[in-house]
Symmetry: C2
Subunit: 398 residues, 2 copies
C-alpha cells in the first residue's frame, strides 16, 4: 500500500471540528445546541445581488479572466478608493475566497521553510495554508490581559531572523475582535521597512468596526507600496460565504505578476460568485447600517452579560464579531466537550470553540474559548444563561 | 525592497499565454483571429441547469459542507455507478475545479521533492500545480509517430526510483486526443501495484470518446482501491468551465480523510457552481448525443482536411477535442507568432498553441502545435484554409 506524504498524514484537523461529532451526538439525543462556535452570519445576502444572479442571461458558463472579470476588478478599485485605499484595478486579483489570496501570497513571497510572524491567537486555517505552502508560522503572543493589543515591537524583533519574510495581521481580528489602531499599524509599517519584510493584512472584517472607531488599512501606510499585501473577501461583508470570492491586493507589481501565474494555472475564479460579488458593490449604506446595528446590539448584550458571570472575562471587541473569553475552568476543551456530551439545561446546551486551537504555542489559551456573536439576541440570551448554569454544575463535579 | 520567493519569481508563464499579446495586437490591426489554441467549448451549458440556478430561493449564500453538498455527492456517486465506477459518496470530495483536486492529491500523496511520472506532451497547468505543491514532474515521452500511445512499461521502469510516488495520466488526453485502452490501463495498474505507487487519472474528458470506443477508468481496475485517484470536473462535460466544480475521487480512505482537512482549511467549494453541477446530473442522453455529434463532425472534418495539407500530420484523436499536429516548419512557436504578427489571409489569421509548451523535455515537439476543435465547422474550414496558405508563404520566407 503506497504511503501518504507527511503533510498528508500529519495535517492537523481543525480543533473546532474535533467537537463536531459531540455536537451531532447531542442533537441525536434531542438536545438543542446553540452554535457560538462558528462565524456563519445569519444576515441575509443583499437581495439585490441575488436578483442579479437570478436574472443572468448567461448561456455558456465560460471561464472568466484568471484575475477576475475586469468590470468587477474596476468596481472593486472604486470600492477601495471610497474607503481611502488608492489602488488601480491592476493591483487586484480576484481569488477563490480569501483563502486562495493567502495561499498565493505565501507561495509568491515565501520560499519553503521561510517564516511569517503572526500574533496569536490567530485564525486556525492559517495553519492549513502554511502547511500547504510549506512555510512556517512563528507565533507572537498577544494576551487577554491586554485585550489582545499588538505585542510590543521589541518582541517582534526578537523573533526576526534571516528566514523571516513577512508579518501577518488580521484586522479587525478573528478570533479576538481586536481592532489594531493606526498607530499600531504604523509601528508595524516601520518594522517591516526596517527588516525588508512583507506586511500581510487580512482585512475581511473591515466593515465591522464599532464605537465610532475607523478602520485603518495596511494599504494606507505610506512608503509600503512594495511591502503591503491585502487579503479580502466578500464572505462576511455581504454575508456571501458560499460564493467563494476574495481578492489579493497589492501595489507591488512583482507580486501581482507572479500571483497571476498561479491564478492562470487554476484558470478562473468562480463565475457566478463574481456576478454576485460585483452586484453587491451597488448595495447602499443602509445595508451596512442595518447589519451594523444588529451586530452592535448583539455585542453589547453578550459582552456585558458574559462579564456578569463570576470568573468570566470577555474583552469588549472593537471589530469583527468574535471575542475570546476566559473561563473559570482549567481546561476549556474538556469543558466544551462536557457541555456537548453530558450537560443540558432545559434540554439545551451551547457549543464554543476552545481557544487553544487558535494558539500555536502549546498550553496557551487553555482556559479560553472563542465565541462568534452571530446569533440573534434571543439565542444569545439563552446561551449566556446556559453557560452560567453549566459553570455552576461543572465546578461541583471537577 | 523585500524579495519574492523563487517559486514566485521563477514560476513559468504558460507558453500559450505568451502568444496572447500578439493575438491582441492582430485584433487591434483589424485582423480576425480564429482561436484554435484554447479549449473553451462554444457548446451551451444545459439550459435546465441554468434554470435551476435562476430559480434559486437562497436568501443567505452560506458555506456548504467542505466536501461539497451531500445531495450533490450522492448524485455524483449515482453518476459514477451508471458509468461503471462503483463508489460511495464518501469516496468523493467536491473541489474547486479539477485543478484543486490535483493540488490536493499532490499535497496529500507526495512529499516536497517527490516525483510523479507523466507521459508528455501533457496539460501545461500540471507544471503550475507541481510547483505549488513542491513536487517534481518526471516526463516520459509519447510520440506523434505512435499517435501518442502509452510509452512502453519498460520505459516507465527506467524512471522509477525511491522518490517516485505516482504515475499520472490524462484519459482521454489533453493535448493529444489519445484514448488509453483497457489493456494500457491494466499495464499501468500492474506497474503501480508492483512499485507501491499511486495512479492519478485525470478523466475530465470521459464523455468525449469516439468511433464506438468505450472509456475505461482507472477506478475500474481491480485491486487498485488504495492506489487509484480520479480527478474530475464538470467544466467540459457540461460546458461549465466557469462554475469551478470538480471532484477528487478515491476509495483510499486515508487520502480522502487527509484531503478533507485541506478542504476544510479553504472552507467550502463554490455554492452556486454546486447547484448548477448537481442540476446537470439530470440532463438526458440527448444533451450528450447532440454534443457528441457536433464534436464528431468537427473532428472528422478538421483531421481529414489537415492531413491533406502537404507536410502536415495530425493523428486521428479518439477522445477529448484536441489533437497535436506536426507541421513542415522547424520552429512552430516562431510560425505561430508570425501567423499573428505578420500574416493575414483576406484579413484573417489563426492562433495555435505551440506544442513545445506541452513537453517537459527541452526541444521536444518543436515542429508541433496543439489545436482544440471547439469551433463550428465553418470557422474550422476557414482556419484550415488559412493554415494551408500561410504555410506556403512561410516556406518562401524562412
Amino acid at each position: 500500500m503506497p504511503k501518504l506524504s507527511e503533510r498528508g498524514s500529519e495535517m492537523p484537523a481543525s480543533p473546532i471540528r474535533k467537537l463536531v461529532p459531540y455536537a451531532e451526538a447531542a442533537k441525536k439525543r434531542g438536545v438543542k445546541v446553540y452554535h457560538l462556535n462558528i462565524g456563519q452570519p445569519d444576515i441575509k445576502t443583499p437581495e439585490f445581488a441575488m436578483e442579479v444572479l437570478r436574472n443572468t442571461s448567461i448561456k455558456t458558463a465560460e471561464y472568466t479572466h484568471s484575475a477576475g472579470n475586469e468590470s468587477y476588478r474596476k468596481g472593486l478599485a472604486e470600492y477601495y478608493k471610497n474607503i481611502g485605499i488608492d489602488v488601480d484595478f491592476n493591483d487586484i486579483l480576484v481569488t477563490t475566497g480569501g483563502s486562495e489570496a493567502i495561499i498565493f501570497a505565501f507561495l509568491v513571497c515565501l520560499n519553503p521553510g521561510d517564516e511569517v510572524i503572526i500574533p496569536e491567537p490567530f485564525y486556525t486555517n492559517y495553519n492549513g495554508f502554511a502547511i500547504q505552502a510549506g512555510v512556517k508560522i512563528v507565533p507572537i503572543r498577544s494576551s487577554i490581559e491586554e485585550d489582545f493589543a499588538l505585542p510590543a515591537i521589541s518582541e517582534f524583533e526578537k523573533l526576526i531572523n534571516p528566514r523571516t519574510k513577512a508579518i501577518m495581521v488580521c484586522n479587525p481580528n478573528n478570533p479576538t475582535g481586536y481592532l489594531y489602531s493606526k498607530s499600531e499599524l504604523k509601528q508595524l509599517g516601520d518594522l517591516v521597512l526596517k527588516h525588508k519584510l512583507f506586511l500581510f493584512a487580512d482585512e475581511v472584517y473591515r466593515e465591522f468596526c464599532y464605537d465610532g472607531l475607523e478602520h485603518f488599512s495596511a494599504m494606507q501606510l505610506e512608503g509600503l507600496e512594495e511591502n503591503a499585501v491585502l487579503f479580502d473577501s466578500v464572505s462576511k461583508r455581504y454575508s456571501e460565504c458560499g460564493v467563494r470570492i476574495g481578492a489579493l491586493v497589492s501595489r507591488n507589481k512583482n507580486i501581482m505578476q507572479s500571483a497571476l501565474k498561479y491564478a492562470q494555472a487554476r484558470l478562473s475564479p468562480p463565475l457566478f460568485g463574481q456576478i454576485v460579488g460585483e452586484a453587491s458593490l451597488q448595495v447602499g449604506k443602509d445595508y451596512f447600517e442595518e447589519v451594523y446595528d444588529e451586530y452592535i446590539s448583539r455585542r453589547n448584550y453578550v459582552i456585558s452579560a458574559l462579564n456578569k458571570i463570576p470568573g468570566v472575562y470577555a474583552p469588549m471587541p472593537k471589530g469583527a464579531f468574535y471575542t475570546i473569553l476566559s473561563l473559570p475552568v482549567k481546561d476549556a476543551e474538556h469543558f466544551c466537550i462536557w457541555l456537548l456530551n453530558e450537560y443540558q439545561y432545559e434540554n439545551e446546551t451551547v457549543m464554543f470553540a476552545p481557544a487553544s486551537g487558535f494558539y500555536s504555542s502549546p498550553d496557551a489559551g487553555k482556559n479560553e474559548v472563542r465565541i462568534a456573536y452571530v446569533l440573534k439576541i434571543e439565542d444569545l440570551k439563552r446561551s449566556v444563561l446556559i453557560l452560567e448554569k453549566a459553570l455552576e454544575s461543572y465546578k461541583k463535579i471537577f
